[in-house]
């Protein structure tokens, strides 16, 4: 993921022409072609599925924005065929999506809602610690996977925390 996100940042620094869908697609294809492991197609799917929701806009309201990661997470669930508690990125992404929707429904602004999503993702990540992995390469370790955080849940939590920090804007 470090390799993939470094490639994404480099690509975004070059400047991506077009609407939000184009940006999401560019992020997706960069991750797909630079990560190499299962996280590539999974995070690639996340951003690919966000693209049509954001569409040909350059700015969207908070409700439309929140629908995008929801579509993305649904795509990841379908692609990875993992369930909650399998010790995967789903364990961070699904509670984060739920928290985002709940916060926005309760009237929170997007930065606050994303911060609550990041907190939910971190809690989801921490909850993977005692679990035995049932999906992905960690599942080869069986019982020995218990006692370690799931790396997919950890990278998802980092991604959402970064989104929250970005939405909060530069520290004053």
């Amino acid at each position: 993921m470090y390799r993939g996100m470094k490639a994404v940042v480099a690509k975004l620094d070059e400047g991506v022409a077009g609407d939000l869908a184009a940006v999401c697609k560019q992020v997706a294809t960069t991750l797909i072609s630079s990560v190499g492991g299962a996280a590539g197609p999974l995070y690639g799917t996340l951003f690919l599925r966000m693209a049509p929701v954001l569409g040909a806009n350059t700015a969207v309201d908070a409700t439309t924005f929140a629908a995008a990661p929801r579509a993305g997470v649904d795509g990841v669930v379908a692609r990875g065929r993992a369930e909650l508690g399998d010790k995967t990125m789903i364990d961070a992404l699904v509670p984060a999506g739920d928290a985002l929707d709940a916060a926005l429904s309760a009237g929170a602004g997007l930065p606050e809602a994303l911060r609550q999503a990041a907190d939910a993702a971190a809690a989801g990540r921490d909850a993977t610690l005692p679990l035995v992995a049932r999906k992905g390469r960690a599942s080869y370790l069986g019982e020995r996977s218990a006692g370690h955080l799931d790396p997919g849940a950890a990278s998802s939590a980092m991604l959402i925390a970064a989104a929250a920090t970005a939405a909060e804007g530069p520290a004053s």
């Binding site: 996280a39 690639g44 690919l48 390469r137």
Partner: protein, 106 residues
């Protein structure tokens, strides 16, 4: 025209060597075989966009069988199906296989 083959794996060198071995045995059959393996010559990994390109290159209209090793190769091949034309997708079959030498890189 024949069905085409796409070899998907984590190691480009291993995939090309496998294809070279097979080519020796099917000499002159005209079966198109393309490779989508590794991120580059030396970096292990799979890339759904490369798999999509390899499927397009192997397709002569009679269909394509995609052979892949484990782990992300399966996810990447499934994602590649989302990236290709509907017409081509309908004649593609995904076929996970275990290449013993590849197992620990998947």
């Amino acid at each position: 025209m024949t069905v085409g083959l796409v070899v998907v794996g984590h190691s480009r060198a291993l995939a090309h060597a496998s294809v070279a071995l097979v080519q020796m045995m099917i000499h002159g059959s005209g079966v198109p075989i393309t490779v989508a393996a590794g991120l580059d010559e030396t970096t292990f990994g799979t890339d759904a966009t490369a798999i999509a390109d390899a499927i397009a290159a192997a397709d002569q209209g009679q269909g394509v069988v995609v052979l892949m090793d484990l782990g992300s190769a399966v996810l990447s091949a499934e994602l590649a199906l989302d990236l290709i034309d509907d017409v081509v997708r309908d004649r593609v079959v995904l076929c996970p296989v275990v290449a013993a030498g590849n197992f620990f890189t998947s």
